[in-house]
């Protein structure tokens, strides 16, 4: 053990590069914080930058969060619409969704509307 420490010290003082350390903290791994494989073949709702929303069956994905959705329905938000669905929906079929513009992914059944919890904002 002592010899190991001595060797490590040597490497450190050597000003060096790349000694193989045991704790690989500097190695960046592309880890996804969300495991999408559990949503495969399930209907999900996706929200995009720019206000678009879509729902469809998840057929595939990649680590960059590009998605393949089947039977996609797109919902558009208008100024006078204010998040009223069913208006202006389009059937899109099989689409690829660009991961760079995805902001939210959730299961279609996983959401419900609740009354506004922020009604009274009279905090001083």
């Amino acid at each position: 053990m002592t010899s190991l420490l001595a060797a490590a010290n040597e490497m450190a003082s050597g000003g060096g590069g790349g000694g193989s350390k045991m704790a690989d903290k500097e190695k960046k791994k592309k880890e996804s914080i969300l495991d999408l494989s559990k949503y495969i073949d399930k209907t999900i709702r996706v929200k995009f930058q720019g206000g678009r929303e879509a729902s469809g069956v998840l057929k595939g994905f990649d680590p960059l969060l590009n998605l393949v959705l089947d039977g996609t329905i797109e919902y558009m938000r208008d100024p006078d619409d204010q998040y009223k669905l069913t208006e202006d929906t389009r059937q899109l079929g099989l689409v690829v969704c660009r991961g760079t513009s995805v902001v939210l992914i959730c299961p279609q059944d996983g959401m419900e509307a609740i009354p506004n919890p922020f009604i009274q904002q009279q905090d001083g």
């Binding site: 996804s32 678009r52 595939g60 393949v68 797109e74 899109l92 760079t100």
Partner: protein
């Protein structure tokens, strides 16, 4: 250790689907209210796309814009969704 991104090989990768659409008409929806329809000639790692025989649509004023030919390069920054038109059936 195995890569954390081990996805099920039997699923469909998004970029594979785009690759299959090369040569067919493709419909691209941008983040804004604009859509582009054209023939897909190719794409790159950043999903910038080269299209041909392109028509540009503005959804809100409901008008068709200029029909552009001679190949365009579409910047992938603003792309939200892509549809392969050859797969629209029934």
């Amino acid at each position: 250790m195995a890569a954390n991104a081990t996805t099920n090989p039997s699923q469909l990768l998004p970029l594979e689907l785009v690759d299959k659409c090369i040569g067919s008409r493709i419909h691209i929806v941008m983040k804004s209210d604009k859509e582009i329809v054209g023939t897909l000639l190719g794409f790159d790692d950043f999903v910038n796309m080269v299209l041909e025989d392109v028509t540009e649509f503005e959804i809100t004023p409901e008008g068709r814009r200029i029909t552009k030919l001679d190949q365009i390069l579409l910047n992938g920054n603003n792309i939200t969704m892509k549809r392969c038109l050859l797969l629209t059936g029934s």
